[in-house]
């Protein structure tokens, strides 16, 4: 078992309320990603789990045991930082062996050799064991840092943006490696990032944090398709979700920005709605080249695998994802169709999703 539970955790630094009553469960063997912008409280949460910080209020449990006041070394967690610090004067082998040679974990050299070689094999760094860190690439250094966390065979890995110092290409590769590593180890990964693509692609579940408040916890699909509020809707997804102001009158939904009036029963199956709403629609849920409404192509961005068209309708700019084969030119007038069944409704005051 390796499960982490945070209950009503609060933390204040001077005047800043860093965490406001966080309750979160990281399940045994789960890859849980904590996602949020800078200053959301992600790192603080991780440091509280590791014991590097103590919560002002609330409890931390690991495998059902309350950890408040327990020293970091007694929590059986491994911490992997963004700035992996390797000892420059030691070889990769000695860097990996280092934790096992410390007073705390003192281990027989023959045992150390076995463990180091095993970890090196899993991470495919066997051929690097005799090199010094400055002779390694960024990705190799990151693997060594991971390896150093792995040698003690911890059940819980706490990772603070471990990929953010790598270049884009390497990050994509390390993503796959990290995910299969986690599966193979069967360990619990509690992973922090500000990058929503990283969160979606790595996490079994994603927990979205903003200003010290947990916004939503769910599978990547849930967070993407059914964001709990406007913040999550905008933070997850690239390009951003379209958000349109709407008002209701006599069974009709008016989208003023698009000069469009729709029968409410066509787009909403739930209960009562407030008279003003925000309607959310993902860029792939607007179809170009069909429908009766017309917009003007304002910009076309080729992203390779697909394209983003910004469509101007009155004063509104819609973001539309189109297939890579689609050809549109700036200034062209194009019919568009909104996928009504994909409409999301938010309360403009509370910013929560309705229904």
């Amino acid at each position: 078992m390796a499960e982490v539970v945070l209950r009503d955790v609060e933390k204040r630094f001077g005047k800043i309320q860093a965490l406001q009553g966080i309750t979160l469960e990281v399940r045994d063997g789960e890859f849980l990603v904590l996602l949020g912008p800078t200053g959301a409280g992600k790192t603080t949460t991780l440091r509280i789990v590791s014991g590097l910080e103590e919560p002002d209020r609330g409890d931390v449990f690991i495998d059902g045991v309350r950890m408040n006041g327990v020293a970091p070394r007694d929590r059986n967690c491994a911490f992997v930082f963004q700035n992996y610090i390797l000892y420059p004067h030691l070889t990769v082998y000695d860097n990996l062996a280092f934790p096992l040679r410390s007073k705390l974990w003192r281990t027989e050299e023959s045992e150390i050799r076995k463990k180091v070689e095993h970890v090196a094999r899993v991470l495919k760094i066997e051929h690097l064991l005799h090199r010094k860190p400055d002779k390694l690439s960024g990705g190799e250094q990151q693997r060594v840092a991971l390896g150093r966390a792995m040698v003690r065979n911890p059940r819980i890995f706490l990772m603070d943006e471990p990929l953010s110092n790598l270049d884009a290409k390497l990050r994509e590769e390390m993503r796959v490696e990290l995910k299969s590593l986690q599966k193979n180890l069967g360990a619990t990964f509690f992973f922090v990032t500000h990058d929503h693509v990283e969160a979606m692609t790595l996490g079994d579940r994603v927990a979205v944090l903003n200003q010290g408040v947990l916004q939503q916890v769910g599978t990547p699909e849930e967070v993407y398709e059914y964001p709990a509020n406007v913040f999550v809707a905008r933070f997850v997804g690239n390009p951003e979700m379209n958000l349109l102001e709407g008002f209701l009158e006599g069974g009709k939904l008016h989208l003023r920005g698009l000069a469009l009036t729709l029968d409410l029963e066509k787009v909403w199956k739930g209960g009562e709605l407030p008279s003003r709403v925000l309607v959310g629609l993902r860029p792939e849920n607007i179809l170009l080249g069909q429908g009766e409404a017309v917009g003007e192509v304002y910009l076309v961005e080729d992203l390779g695998a697909d394209k983003i068209v910004r469509l101007r309708v009155g004063e509104t700019l819609l973001r539309v994802r189109v297939p890579k084969e689609a050809e549109f030119s700036v200034g062209e007038r194009v019919p568009y169709l909104l996928a009504y069944e994909k409409f999301l409704f938010f309360d403009p005051t509370t910013e929560r999703r309705l229904g």
């Binding site: 290409k169 995910k179 693509v197 304002y298 961005e301 080729d302 390779g304 890579k324």
Partner: protein, 357 residues
């Protein structure tokens, strides 16, 4: 089309390090040209040579037909927009934009008129009285742009101007910059390491690596028809998949690492004509699909949901992992077979890394 900038055999050496090697390129009026490459590839050095901030070791630079290789930056009629804005903190947005004109002694009314004109294009009119510290990073970048635009230079030079912004702002500014370019049509040379910026903004991309131009072409060209393995890998997110093949002879097909043989007439003809034995099949993730009876067998390593599509990592031979895009919601795990859209496949010579055509 009028040539606005010409680089001829441009090289730059720092001690023993050849930062830029023999770069020859024409940039035409109104073009948005992006120099793309990893750090250390020579893209910024090339830009700095165009600006006059760096003296070439060899070669020449022409701006609007005039040789400027020996001219100081101020006499080249260019505007440089930096990564870190470099605004004067004690001046308002208006004063920052007006600064280059005032330095040239332009009359007061004309300064007023031109600053307002630029501010209108950039949507900065309501912010002109604010100082940099009161502006968002996106607006600061716009003020920096405004200061460049107000002089009406022959060429805009931009060195990673969006890299100081967070992901969301970067996306917005990317679109705004591109739209601005469409509206004012200024010749722009733009440097970035971000292939998405290059793909989405450029009329032409100049891909550089190790000081040399690897390929020059439209975003579509470099994406669909990369000249070599470097370009194929660097462009795209994730990059192109590389599948090693051994050519067995015409009519006999190619052997995959797992021993399977795949057949494709056009590819075989290419291999024959080029006289190659070991080659690499290059195929982008969206041109592979999980199919009932595809050509390539594999085993799913991971599934990465992106919301509107899933990205699969599939192991097709021990340690050989390729990426496959799939638009279906349904998830496929375990053993899968992959169908290749051959019309979008590239063949590379294993030895040279060059595409076989």
């Amino acid at each position: 089309m009028m040539e606005r900038v010409r680089l001829e055999g441009l090289s730059k050496r720092f001690g023993a390090f050849e930062a830029v090697q023999d770069v020859t390129l024409s940039i035409f009026e109104g073009e948005f040209v992006v120099f793309l490459g990893p750090s250390g590839c020579g893209k910024t050095t090339t830009l700095r040579m165009i600006a006059g901030l760096e003296k070439p070791t060899r070669g020449d630079i022409f701006i609007a037909g005039k040789r400027v290789t020996q001219l100081p930056p101020a006499r080249r009629n260019i505007a440089f927009v930096f990564q870190n804005y470099a605004l004067y903190p004690h001046m308002t947005a208006f004063e920052n934009i007006a600064f280059p004109l005032e330095a040239q002694g332009v009359p007061r009314e004309e300064v007023q008129r031109r600053v307002r004109e630029v501010a209108k294009i950039l949507g900065l009119e309501h912010l002109l009285a604010l100082r940099p510290a009161q502006l968002s990073s996106g607006d600061m970048q716009k003020v920096a742009l405004g200061r460049a635009m107000v002089r009406r230079p022959q060429v805009f030079l931009m060195d990673e101007p969006l890299s100081g912004l967070d992901a969301k702002h970067r996306e917005e500014m990317r679109a705004e910059l591109k739209r601005l370019h469409i509206e004012i049509g200024a010749t722009t040379v733009y440097v970035t390491h971000d292939q998405i910026e290059a793909m989405s903004m450029a009329d032409r991309i100049v891909v550089m690596n190790e000081g040399k131009i690897q390929q020059v072409g439209s975003p579509r060209e470099v994406y669909l028809h990369p000249e070599n393995l470097f370009v194929a890998h660097f462009i795209g997110s994730p990059g192109m998949n590389f599948i090693p093949l051994v050519f067995l002879g015409e009519g006999r097909g190619f052997r995959l690492e797992n021993g399977d043989v795949i057949r494709h007439e056009t590819m075989e003809r290419l291999a024959v004509r080029h006289g190659v034995r070991e080659c690499i099949l290059g195929i982008r993730p969206e041109f592979l699909s999980i199919a009932a009876s595809g050509e390539i067998r594999g085993n799913t390593v991971s599934i990465e949901p992106l919301g509107y599509k899933n990205l699969y990592a599939v192991e097709i031979a021990p340690g050989r992992i390729i990426r496959v895009e799939d638009m279906r919601r349904e998830r496929f795990s375990g053993n899968v077979s992959l169908a290749v859209r051959w019309e979008a496949a590239c063949l590379f010579d294993h030895q040279t890394g060059q595409r076989i055509r």
